[in-house]
């Protein structure tokens, strides 16, 4: 229910998730650390390019970018004024500094570039593949397994939540700012936890019945194809260029 973008069939959709994960990770790190405008603009362009290649529908893309930019907007309310430096102009008694505006602009570009990359990755890879990729990239097993279980049961539990919500609705419940409301929500959370706890017990039993001895196996095999190799080399080159432009 949460993955609405993964059904596409772009070039990016066909790529090996391990490669995508590594590239997005390295890209994010370089962008997070970068400061120069050329580099940041380059990263934004690259992000846009990848999102276009992944054929993410524009409306969905914008919808996903809105939350991030709300926080950025919030910061724009402060940074231009609070950042020390050369005043550009005055708004009443407050000086808008050149450095402050630059800084806020930088943050805006960085955030959006990184988000574009993440959206392209997420939009083109089912979450389960991501889990398998994490496994093969030697992320500790326990974390990967936790990731799988959490994701698997979010859906079951979310449905339980919706049904409980309907139950309180048909009994005339209208949320207000009062104790009765908080108590009701606390009970719902409590009920979800209790049921999840007992479900966990049953799931573990089901695993035991099938001979579980503590190992979880992964059947998914990925293999790098020419497309993958070419794409990774291209992206790595871009990332290295960004790094060189920034720090050399």
């Amino acid at each position: 229910m949460f993955e609405e973008l993964t059904n596409g069939d772009s070039f990016i959709h066909g790529l090996d998730p391990r490669g995508k994960l590594i590239v997005v990770f390295l890209f994010s790190i370089v962008v997070a650390a970068a400061d120069r405008f050329q580099v940041l603009l380059g990263s934004l362009t690259l992000g846009l390019l990848i999102v276009l290649t992944a054929k993410v529908p524009a409306r969905k893309l914008i919808k996903r970018l809105i939350p991030v930019n709300m926080l950025i907007l919030f910061l724009w309310l402060f940074l231009p004024f609070t950042f020390g430096g050369e005043p550009l102009f005055f708004m009443g008694p407050l000086a808008v500094t050149r450095e402050g505006v630059f800084y806020a602009t930088r943050i805006s570009i960085k955030s959006n570039a990184m988000m574009l990359m993440l959206i392209a990755l997420v939009a083109s890879t089912p979450i389960f593949f991501m889990g398998h990729a994490m496994h093969q990239l030697k992320i500790p097993n326990k974390i990967v397994h936790l990731f799988f279980f959490t994701y698997r049961y979010i859906h079951a539990i979310y449905r339980e939540y919706l049904r409980l919500k309907n139950s309180i609705k048909i009994r005339g419940f209208i949320p207000k700012t009062d104790l009765h409301t908080y108590k009701t929500f606390a009970y719902m959370v409590g009920m979800l936890l209790v049921r999840s706890f007992d479900r966990a017990h049953r799931v573990h039993n089901a695993m035991l019945c099938r001979g579980f001895k503590g190992d979880l196996y992964s059947l998914k095999k990925f293999s790098f194809k020419t497309n993958d190799v070419v794409s990774i080399i291209f992206m790595m080159a871009m990332i290295v260029i960004m790094g060189v432009m920034e720090w050399a």
Partner: protein, 230 residues
């Protein structure tokens, strides 16, 4: 049949986050804002916490911790009215009380999924965000857990549960503010505002955590005493 069900819940779900997505960000600092030093520091401490959590986590507990973590994920999507606006539940105090140090890996996974599913937070901020939510949970767990033990008076339970909900959100707010402040002094007013925004939420979380703990004690006390708590 399920397939269609999925679709329906998705649309409800979207409405839910669209309407109230602003709150998420108080707890999830977005990508691109924090300085590399803060990101690295946060990631290092988070990694240490996760390592301790994983050490305590036996293979056979993974379904329990995973499924509880899923329950918290869902609970964090619930929005409750807080005066004129509405707030999303954080419930990290409750996570701490139930999972102890395992709150670190559980919250890490929860945040990773939020980054992947809704793009709240992201890869480089995963460490800081985990630390900001999990550390207060673990601290409160260590201070207040004894008050929840079986045989404690009801008042003690209520006080400790409330304090856990209250302080874990307060601490988280402060840590989010601190993350911003450490990035640059220019963030100070914004950081203050972030902490202030957490104030009403602290009370709500205190009340919710208390009621929820009383619920669990009555209905399934094993959850609070289980051996999945380290």
């Amino acid at each position: 049949m399920e397939k269609f069900f999925q679709k329906n819940t998705k649309s409800n779900f979207k409405q839910l986050i669209q309407k109230h997505s602003y709150y998420f960000k108080a707890m999830h600092i977005s990508e691109g804002i924090l300085s590399p030093a803060v990101l690295i520091g946060g990631a290092a401490f988070a990694a240490a916490g996760v390592a301790i959590g994983l050490k305590n986590l036996e293979q056979k507990e993974i379904p329990t911790v995973g499924i509880l973590s899923a329950a918290f994920f869902v609970a964090s999507l619930i929005h409750v009215p807080a005066g004129p606006v509405s707030a999303h539940l954080i419930l990290n105090g409750l996570v701490g009380l139930i999972l102890g140090w395992k709150a670190f890996p559980a919250i890490l996974v929860g945040l990773a999924l939020q980054a992947l599913l809704f793009q709240f937070g992201g890869m480089t901020t995963l460490g800081v965000n985990t630390l900001n939510m999990a550390l207060p949970a673990v601290i409160c767990y260590h201070i207040f857990k004894n008050g929840l033990k079986a045989g404690m008076g009801k008042h003690t339970v209520i006080i400790c549960a409330f304090a856990t909900g209250f302080f874990s959100v307060l601490l988280s707010g402060i840590m989010v503010g601190l993350s911003l402040y450490l990035t640059g002094e220019a963030f100070l007013p914004a950081a203050k505002l972030v902490v202030a925004a957490h104030l009403p939420v602290m009370f709500i979380e205190g009340i919710l955590t208390t009621t929820c703990i009383l619920f669990l004690k009555k209905v399934r006390p094993e959850i609070l005493e289980g051996d999945h708590v380290s």
